[in-house]
Every structure is written in structure tokens, then in C-alpha cells.
Symmetry: D2
């Protein structure tokens, strides 16, 4: 099966997440990178494109040029998917323009920076019917899909409590002043949006809760903090959550938790059992059924739900990691596009975060920031 | 060295924590149980006392009788310490009466059920000068003392963030209706006080934070819940915390987290490093200094602080547990009494939770309940 | 119930294991120490006895004196049990003499230093019918009893493979030259016997295998090494094992594994499942049934076998440790003596390592040393 | 930089390791698959090649055809590297023929099935000077490289003891009779060679020891077993090892350890410290320096050795797994070929297992089998 043609905006020299997207896209042979507008100036873009072996005629100087010239190609020769891996503030204009022109899109998170933008993007995606994915990559892990499936099947009973924590420490010092590119744009409200840690990693935590539990938050009470002097955005946040139906929750996210690396975990408790999963050891899921021994589930075993197992590549005990989970989004996007195009059976289709997940995430960030700034604190979340 | 003479109120047949107190008291040869008023009726008390081999003349029918008759004994023949291991509502009258009469006291937690009682108890303890300990036993673990010492020595720098979680699942079903004694009185406001999970285990979490960090909370915002239908008190609680000086925190406690056993943990982050400790694997402390490899500290090693090492009994790799941590309170109480009495050098003296810790814990519970019931939510804590 | 009267030989000032025996004996109220000959000279013995509050008339200068004078007491006033906690070379004369005189004995391991001594001791114990326990304390952990029970019930199917490793590092340097008492006698063949690490900890590993699996080794091939220059006995050993019935095994024990503390673990595999247990985290047992999720069993849960659960003191999640496991031997010895004496129902009786376990352990050590010294290497073990 | 051109022999429909090689080769953009002879018959080969999108003219029916026709292409248009992913018995003829013809080779392990073949292959590789890698993939993990570097730098002092264990359970039942392709050829001496578990995974364990420690075994004593009735080759093995210089070791490998997945671990102890690493949680390395706290090292941290860090792709806390480690061999092969070709600076060059590692592995397997079959048992290993 010939790979799909991938274009990319952002992800040039020195970028982190763009390289991850590229590895994820090619890992399983589903995509080939054929076009790009990779950096913020035409010169840098083209240098970055040459590094990656892009053909000159599709190594574009800007995303606008890329859009025009790809559209000018015959239909079967255009890119099949555009990946957007720029700083946050560019997600909206690029995503909107490409989606409107009928291109499928994979967009990094948070999807956009305001809920107005989110609503407009939802509208255009629904109108054009393009495939649109948001790379909340942590929900690409097979055992997260397993957890979701176990909740859906009622193996936890009625859910009561969710605790999600995301501890990072890399911004415990003022790294943005040392020229670290990842830190610089994340600390700049013009590029990152209204939230710092909350937007960067709190949004992953929100998506993890929504994916695993299916619960909808009704109210939240937030306490965001900027610990590092001189930083413009929050670098730490604590939230109380209430869900429709009565469940309660806590969300902790921090980028100043010294010594922590990428410590995202979730614990879910229901009337019949509990679950916990940790991103740094992603190949085990602990399931605690009421009154029976705790179970340690691993990928590749016969007892795994098909919904999880089909995203596993190698036998049990052979660890898959961050890139593989990320690639699961790309595999599902490819399968979805192929199914739409060819009508065939594509088992992996339609299991990735959508524009609706992206929009909900943006509203969550906005409400969190508003709660933290307000006197009232507990705020309602629109569904 | 002859053991000190211990008396006990509560802890008769079917009780859990009384037996733990007794094991803790005798483990290191510091105490012998010589007197008791162990149950709620004279008959049950005496039966329980006979089980334990108490001499008839000191196997009392009630705590009031015990107080009178112990006072009637010659000074050197009275009990040296009274342990109070009744349901919460009896802590105050018993503790007040014995302290007022000049007896040293070890009292289970929460110390009393209102801050008024707490204030009166502080007053009488200060007036009489008796030794008074509250069995917040988790802070008796050597590695908790090590964590406290490392914070004090500045190895974490300025503290920014504390996350303490206490997950239990044993009350996920309505155990109090099945006649389980431990569940029955904890679920009864007349015996337990105004709080359920918050009083029972949230208070341990509060003490752990205070002990390790030395931080004082200035404000809190609480969301307590009763999940099990028909239960009178909270069985789950989530709190946001703000500390004097700017640190922030989260406290989670729950007794409906299905499948969890006694999962208390604390994470502390400062400008120079982070720490984490888990009660279920109490013999390792993870220290993460900024920019260096994480360190796994264990008891019995030469690098341990003397403040921690002196409470370790056996070589590294030989696990000490819950009872040993509990016994460390008794060892320190014994050392303190001996030092006061004999004036000798007692290395273990004065390292146990005091009447002031107990009083602060009670105020914390009250403010938490008030916050959860109030509209305003964020409430100030008096120092 | 009145505690039993305990006497002790060895365990004076500066000793390690004697103090553990004393804590273990009193923890549950089953014993009171009433007599002792605690050190190697009368002066030191009496000083040690005074430290522990022994009455002068039972604070003996030697074990021979103790034997004579205890025998001279009226029958109900003698010690009920003698604990032997001396260096290895004294185990035999003391144990033999007291057993022959009709005293019950708790003896530290290895039981004696030659298989001839072992045979003689078995004979006298069988003749007199005294209760005789050897403190292979690691098999006192509730989850080791659980593992044994699961093997017995066939939950692992037919056993095929056993891997037991005991890594310690405390003798990686020549500690015996620094006057560390524990190291000095263990390094001296006159006190320790023919084996060093193999006798000290390899014997624990052997007992753990025998207890959990019930397998009998038929042949072994050993490679013992003395790594630290100038040391007289082995400080490291590796063994291949063959069991009657066809199972195979490996036993590793070492006291020069730098940085290791007391890392004893066992893995057992059968046709239907596998088990693993680690002494440093003794409160979890991993059970891996063929084709189903691995299970993490913990003490205090309803699914635990009664044979294990009855040795658990406190609820799940409240860690019990080394001393508690040790104390389980004492509890069972007490229960056994009471059952013999009073005929009552004593659920804890008869679950401790016996004189036969001790004798088998001595033969194992001898065969291991012989194999390591021989050219032929693989040697047969007598049953 | 244009990717190198990869050809593949083996790895067609239903194969496991071929797909891993392909993912590993493309992950970092270093290779494109352009040619293949993927299965055992021309028809199956071409069907497999079409699945993977190979152009018809390079989708060969046999490896002999592939060799002829690739040689017939102009020099710059031939494959740059041939990957051999067939069952073991074909490794030699294919590797020999391609290496002799001047092609670079990546060959799966064990490299060949006899030490004669190994010697001939070494000879031809040395003569032609081709780049030749053997995919002992576990030594591609960054933290294995870190361990090797720490040993080289003397941070463990003089090495004394090595314990390597490789527990798998997937062959605990007779899977080869159920038509599982991976099991069928591994159980067939004609395809697998003289050893089963020892050849399949014992060889990985040997390579891990050699890589991390640099020690050379001088003697070994092996006990191989076939547990599953009717199986022709060993499915379990236990080895004692002696190394030149005096260190001792144990190697355990098993494919009948029920419930185990891919549990490979290594523990190394020296006079100054110890190390341990587990493949199932590959992103932490435990270092235990004598007298200091154990350290948990993780990839992506500033303290990591450059030799390890340069093989890390993403920030700390973002798990890399089996495929990434495998891909590190391909990255280094690509860097090596480019450095030879272009003379540029290629930091990743020359860090992969070579033909000499492969040959040593084959000799190790042969000596192990001979020891297990011999009466004498302890056999010398030629260097």
C-alpha cells in the first residue's frame, strides 16, 4: 500500500515536536513527507526542508505559498494530510485555511488559543468534512485505550473519583532566558495563548480524563500560579473538578516540580473497581477490582480488548513508547482517510482526538484561567 | 532499664488501633501495660483486661474509676503514661481529666472533635507540663524524619509545591451496615465528630505536610463529598491549599477509592530539588536534586541524617513497617519522660506530635468542613 | 493469657540478632524475657542482663549455669523456651544440652555447623519431644506462606524452574578488620563454620525454596568465591540445582554485591503459572497465571489463604516488616507449646521451621562447599 | 540528507522481526526500503513485496536473484545495506554472499549456526571491509550504553560479579504445534541451529554482559533443559560463568517461565559500586555507589554520558522503547557508512554489534551446549 503524502507547517531546525511528528508519521509506513513550510522565514524554511531531503519544488517559504501551490497541483498529487506543528498562535490560521480548502489536518495541541477560534474551526471542519486530528498523543497509548474500554464496559461500575496529575520540572528555572527554543515560545503569551503550564500540559491531562472516563466536567475551581519571577504565564496549576452525574476530581499540572520529568498519571475509581496508569511506565495498567487481587495488564496479551490490542505492534514485554503512541494517531488518521477514499475495511480508523476534543480543551483552558482570576472561583463549564 | 508503666483507655475486644498501640508500646521494651479501662461497659472492660493478663486490681470498669484509683496509688506506683484509644468523642474528656491530674498522655488522632476542646486541652497541658503525644503515626517513619531534615537543611531550596494524597477504598461500600466496628463509629457523627474521611485520614495527610515541610497553610478551598448513599459524613475530600510564603498545595483524601489500601504519599518540590515518599513502600525516599540523578535513600545507611537514623532498629534492607513507625512515637515519649525524670541524655526525646500538632489538626478539619459547606469556599486558616 | 517465660543465650551488648529475637518475642504479648546468659563472659553477661532489666537471680554468667539453675526451679517456674542467638559454633552444645534436658528451643540459623551435629540434634529432639524451631525468619512473612499455599493447591501446576537470589553488599570491603562485631564472627571459621555467605544467607535462600516449593534438590553444582583478599570464607556463591522430579534451579548468594542491602527474592515457575516475591518489598506477591493478567496479592485481603492471613496483624496497606515476620515464628512456637500443654485450639501452631529444616540446611551447606572444592562439581544431595 | 537504500532478505507476510527491522530503519529517516526477497518462495516473496510497496523490478523472488540483479545496477543505484531477517540457518549463506560481493550487511542474531561459519564470515568481512552489524538490539538502549560507559570509566571499580537473567514464558506450552510461525522455526534444529532458548535469548544475554562489562568468560558450566515434551531443543538454561581476571557470573535464560514476557535484566557489581538495568523498564538505570544513595539515571538528563545521550531522541520522561533501541543500530550503521563514504563527522558511527560480537556469540552457544552435554561440565571458552 503506497504511503500517504504528508505536508508539514512548522517543525524546522531546532524544533522538538515537529521531529516527533515526522518519526510518528513514517514509523509504520503510512506516510511520506513530501512538502513543507517548516520555519518562520522563507530562508530558514528552505534550509530546514533541505535537511529533510524535501524536493525543491515542494520546499515552501511560507504556509500561504504551500497552500496555493498544493492546491494548484492535480488532485491526486496534492498532499493528503497537513501536519501543523508551529507555536500555538499559528494553529488557527493555518488549520482554518487548509481545512477550508479541503485538506485533512493533523494539528498539535492546544488546538487554538480561544474558544471563538475553536468554534469557527469546528464549523469549517464540519462543513468540508475533512479528517481533522489533534495530537493529544498520550491517549494514543494502547493501555489508555484499554482503560477507556474497561470503563465503557462497566468494569469500574459507576465512576466516583478521578485524580490526574502531571508533574514536570523543566521550567523550575527561567529557561526561557537561556534561549531554549521550547521554553521561549511557551512563555510568550503572544505565541502560547492565555495559559502556560495549563495550556501546555494541563490540556493533555484534561484530554486523558475525558478519553478514559467519558465524564463531562460541569464545574471547576482553579488556582494557577506563576512561581518563576518574571514569567508571564502560569507555570503551575491545581484544579478541583465536578462532573455531571456527581463524580469529583482533581487535576494537578506543574512545570516547576523540580526533578520531575514527564510524570503524567491518572487514577479512576468507581463502585466496582479502580484503575491507574502512569505515562513514564506506559506498558502497565493497574486494575483493582473490588475484593479481588489487583491486576497488572500489559499490551500484547490475549486478554486485552481488541480496541487496545490493534494498536500494539510487538509482543508483550517489548516496550513501546512515546513515539509509538504518537504514531497511533497517525495510523488512525491514515486508516480513516483510506476508508473514506477506498471504502475498505480499516480496523484502525476513527480512533484519534478530533476537532471537538480540541475545542473542548480550549474551553477548559479558558474556564480554568477565568476561575483562577475570578473571586468566585467555582465556574460552570459549558458542555 | 525498667519499662515504664502504661495504662490504656479503650482498645478492648474487637478494637483495631488499641492492639497496635500495645504492640508499639512493648516492641522496644519501653513500656509494660499495667492498667486499663478497655471497653465501654465495666463488664466488657474487665473481660478485655483479662484477655490481656491485667491484674484484677488494675483492670478497671471505667476511665473515671481508673483515674481515681491510680491517683490513690503512691506516686512511684501509678501509671507513667495513659494511652487513649477510644472513638474520637471520648478523647477530650479522658485526655483533659488525666492531663489535669498530672498524667502523661498518648492520645490517638484526631486529638479532639472541636477547636474549643483543643484550646482547653492545650491550656491544661501547658499548665501541668505533662508530656502529651498525638499518634499521627505516619510521621514516625524514619524516612519521613529524613525528609523533614532535608527540607530544614535547605536541600530542596525554597518550597513551592506540595501534593499529598491519601487513597483508601475500604469504605467504598456501606461497611458500617455490616457491623464492622471500625466502620460503625467512624460513620457516626456523635462518635467521630464533624468529619469522616477528612477527620480520619485527611488529618494524617495534614500532619504529614506540616511535619515534612514546616509550611503553614493560610487559606484552603475544600470539596468534601459523601458518595455512599445514607452515610452521614464525608467519605471523600479534595482540597486546594495556599501556604504562608507563597507555596501552593493539593490534599486529596478518600475512603471510596475502590481497590486502594492505605495509599498515603507526599510530593514536595522546591527551587533546588524535589522529594517523594509513599507509605506503602515506606523504606525508600526519592530525592531529586535539580540537574543530578534522582537518589533513592533507605534507612540504615551512613548518609542518613542522625535525626532519622536514630529511629532505625535494624540494618538496611530489613523492612520496618507501620508498627515500628508507631512505636517510634512511644520510644520518644518514653525517652522524654525519662529525661524529665532522670535528667539523663536521651537521644530520642522530643520527637513526636504534640498537643499543638493535635490542636492545629482540629482547626484544619473545622476549616475544611466550613469551606466545603460555605458559598465562599476559600477560607482563611488561623495560625 | 499469661505470656510464656523466655530465656536467652547470646544477644548481649552490641549483638544484632538477639535484639531482634527479643522484639519478635514480645511484640504480640506471647513471651516475657525472664532469664539469660547473654554474653561470652560472666561479667559481660551480667552487664547485658542488667541493661535488659533481668532479675539478678536469673541473670546468669554462662549457659551451663543457666541450665543447672533453671532445672533446679520448680517445674512451672522454669523458662518455657530457650532462644539461642550466639555465633554459629555454640548453637550445637547449647541446643543439645537444653533439648536433652527437656527445654523447648528457638535456635538461630544455620542450626549447627556439621551434619553430624545436626543428626544428633534431630535425634535428641525426637526423643524428648520438645518444640524446636530454627529462625529462618524470611519464611515467616505472610506472603511466603501464601506462595507456599498456592503451590500446594496446584495453582502453578507442575513446577519447572526456581530462581532464588540473595544479593547483599555489606561485606564488599573487609569490614571484619574494622571491628564490626557482626562481620568479625561471620568471617571466622571457628565461629561461623565451613561457609561464609553460603552459611549466612545461602541457607536462608535454601529454606525459602524448600518452604515455598516443597521441592527436594537431588544434585547441585556450586562455585563459591572469596573476593575480599585475606578473608577465610566464601563471600559469594553461585549454584545450579536439580530437583527430584525434574525441576531445575539457580541459587545466587553474595555479600560483596556492592550497594545491595538485603535483596532476597524468589521466582517459581510451573506449567500453569509463575510467582515472584521480594523480601525488600515483602507485602506484595506477584502471581502470573498462564494467559491471564498478572495479579498483585497483598496481606489482609479477603482472597488470601487462611494459612497466610492468620499471620497478618493489621489491615492491608499497613506494611508489616522483618520483625513481624520474625515474630510469626515466635507466635507459632508459643501456640504450639500452649496446644501441647493445654490441648486447646491454637490456629497458629506448627508453622515454623523445625529441626529437620535445620538439618537439611546444614547438609545443603556441606554439599555446596564440597561441590565447590571438588573437581567433579555436580554432587548428589542425600534426602 | 537522502536516506540510504535498504534491501531485505526475509521478513515477509507473517514475520515478526522483519517488520521491526523496517520500522527501525525508517524511524529516523536514515533508510528507505527499495528492494527485497522477502519470503521462502518467489510467489510469497512478491506478494509480500507488493504489500510493502516495493517497485516490481526490485521485488525479487530469491536472495540469489536479488544479489545478481543488484550487482548489475550502476554502483550508486544499488542497495546500500542488506538486512537479513530469515530464520537462523539462512543467515550464513546470504550474509557470506552479500558481504563477499561488497554489500554492507545488517544480520539478525544469532549471526550464524556454527563457529566454522562464523570464522568464515569474519574473514570475508575483514577482507572486503564492508560494514557488518548484528542486531543484538538490547545493547542499543541508551542506558545500556550509559552502563557500559560507567564501567569503562571505573565508576564500579574492579568488577566482581555479574548476574544476567532472561525470563520468558511464551514457550511454556507447545506453541509450535499450534502453527505459530515464530515458534515453529525456533523449535526446528534445521532452521534454528543447535540451541533453542540459549540461541534465541541466551545469546542476547551474553551480548549484554560482554557489552556492559567488557569481561571475557574463560569457563562456563551449563545445564540446559527441554521441559516441554516432544520439543527438540532446549527451552531453558542455567549457566555458571568465570571471567578472565577473576569475576564470576550467572546467566539464566528461559522460555518456559510461565507468565514472564520479555524480562531481561542485568546486575553488575564491582569494588566501588553496582548497576542494575531491566529491559521491561528500559528508561531507568540504577547505580549504587559504595556508601552513597542509589541513583536512578534516566535518558535525556545533563549528567548522562555523551556516548549514551547522543542516542536519545526525545526529552527525559518521554519513554523510548524496543523499536527505538533497535533503530539505534540502524542509525549507527547509516552513520558509519556515510562516514566511510563522505568522510564527514558522524557522531553516531561505530556503535553497533559487529561480526566479531556475532562470532563470539556463536562460540558461546556452542560451548554452552557442549558443557551441558558433557560429563565434565566446566568447559573453557576460547577467546
Amino acid at each position: 500500500m503506497a504511503p500517504l503524502k504528508l505536508g508539514m507547517v512548522g517543525g524546522g531546525r531546532g524544533a522538538f515536536i515537529g521531529a516527533v511528528h515526522r518519526k510518528a508519521a513514517v514509523l509504520d509506513g503510512d506516510f511520506t513527507l513530501v512538502a513543507g513550510a517548516l520555519s518562520s522565514t522563507p530562508e530558514k524554511s528552505k534550509a530546514s526542508g533541505r535537511d529533510l531531503g524535501l524536493a525543491d519544488e515542494r520546499n515552501y517559504g511560507s504556509w500561504e505559498e504551500m497552500l496555493d501551490r498544493e492546491l494548484a497541483r492535480p488532485e491526486g498529487e496534492r498532499i493528503d494530510v497537513l501536519s501543523i506543528v508551529t507555536p500555538n498562535h499559528l494553529h488557527f490560521p493555518v488549520a482554518y485555511a487548509f481545512a477550508e480548502a479541503g485538506f485533512n489536518v493533523v494539528c498539535d495541541k492546544p488546538m487554538v488559543t480561544t474558544s471563538d477560534e475553536a468554534a469557527r474551526l469546528v464549523e469549517v471542519v464540519e462543513k468540508t468534512g475533512v479528517t481533522f486530528a489533534v495530537t493529544y498523543n498520550y491517549t494514543g497509548y494502547p493501555l489508555v485505550k484499554q482503560a477507556r474500554q474497561m470503563v465503557r464496559e462497566g468494569r469500574l461500575g459507576e465512576l466516583r473519583k478521578v485524580v490526574v496529575t502531571y508533574h514536570q520540572g523543566w521550567l523550575a528555572t527561567k529557561l526561557e532566558d537561556e534561549g531554549v527554543k521550547q521554553a521561549v515560545w511557551r512563555a510568550d503569551p503572544d505565541q502560547a495563548g492565555i495559559a502556560g503550564a495549563m495550556g501546555d500540559i494541563g490540556s493533555h491531562a484534561e484530554n486523558l480524563v475525558a478519553t478514559v472516563t467519558g465524564l463531562e466536567p460541569s464545574h471547576l475551581c482553579a488556582d494557577l500560579t506563576t512561581f518563576v519571577p518574571g514569567r508571564a504565564l502560569d507555570d503551575d496549576g491545581n484544579l478541583l473538578l465536578r462532573f455531571r452525574g456527581g463524580a469529583k476530581g482533581v487535576l494537578v499540572c506543574s512545570q516547576i516540580s523540580t526533578g520531575e520529568e514527564n510524570n503524567l498519571s491518572i487514577r479512576v475509581y468507581g463502585t466496582k473497581g479502580g484503575l491507574s496508569w502512569h505515562q513514564e511506565t506506559p506498558n502497565q495498567l493497574l486494575y483493582r477490582p473490588l475484593g479481588s487481587p489487583a491486576q497488572r495488564l500489559t499490551p500484547g496479551q490475549p486478554y486485552l480488548a481488541d480496541a487496545a490490542q490493534k494498536f500494539v505492534r510487538i509482543p508483550s514485554g517489548h516496550p513501546e513508547g512515546f513515539i509509538e503512541a504518537f504514531a497511533n494517531i497517525y495510523r488512525s488518521v491514515a486508516a480513516t482517510i483510506r476508508a473514506k477514499r477506498d471504502g475498505g475495511d480499516e480496523p484502525l480508523q476513527n480512533d484519534f482526538p478530533t476537532v471537538h476534543d480540541g475545542a473542548r480543551g480550549v474551553r477548559f483552558i479558558e474556564t480554568t484561567v477565568a476561575s483562577s482570576q475570578s473571586e468566585k472561583k467555582w465556574l460552570e463549564l459549558s458542555p
